[in-house]
Amino acid sequence: MSISVKYFASVRDLVGKAEDAVDCGDIRSANDVWVQTTSVVMPPNTLVAINQEHARGGDRVRDGDEVAFLPPVTGG
């Protein structure tokens, strides 16, 4: 098992990939996932989703979770 990671829209353009996967290891939070999988600073308005639920960067993530980084939404 590992954590699957998704990056959307302008965040995907920024990090240069749409998906990744990372071993849980010493990752505790969504913010840790960002740090381990990207080489850039997270834009300040970035949204986090854990298992397709809006969440906070400091929220706990576990093996098997899907973590996503999203820019502010602009639908409708």
């Binding site: 998704k6 302008s10 989703a49 397709q52 639920e53 999203l70 939404v73 639908g75 409708g76």
Partner: protein, 144 residues
């Protein structure tokens, strides 16, 4: 209650008519329908826009459209609702989204419809990329 996200041409009022006709249990019972249609404009943030691509987060989008519709149904006395949202490539004047709410009375219909589109714009993971003079840009905030 139905929500749908698809890549293709959206005919918003045909969607509403077809859905209403498919729900025979509604007939005779609703007195008010509030419908909102969001349409692509040819200008945004002061500049001309020639085309747009709408991206979303499959799975999460549907989850939030369902949740927002359910919240509206709990909060107001409504009989049914429909949300259809288009994704993919589109042009100015193309409809993007339609929300429809059926209720006995108009106050509930208007408020629930407004709630669904407001919450959709705040919580549902859609992103617009516009083609403008000089290239592409991600839209950074809701234009209302």
């Amino acid at each position: 209650m139905e929500i749908r996200v698809f890549d293709g041409v959206l005919d918003p009022l045909a969607e509403v008519s077809e859905y209403e006709q498919s729900k025979s249990e509604l007939a005779g019972h609703f007195g008010a329908t509030s419908i909102f249609v969001g349409t692509m404009r040819d200008r945004n943030q002061g500049g001309a826009v020639s085309a747009m691509t709408l991206e979303h987060y499959p799975g999460m989008t549907e989850k939030y459209l369902t949740r927002v519709s359910e919240e509206a149904a709990k909060r107001w006395d409504i009989m049914d609702s429909l949300v259809v949202h288009r994704v993919g490539a589109m042009l100015p004047n193309d409809p993007i989204v339609v929300v429809a709410v059926w209720s006995a009375h108009r106050d509930d219909a208007f408020k629930a419809c407004r709630y669904i589109i407001d919450e959709l714009k705040t919580r549902a993971p859609f992103w617009k990329k516009e083609m403008v003079d000089g290239g592409e840009r991600w839209v950074s905030q809701d234009s209302g």
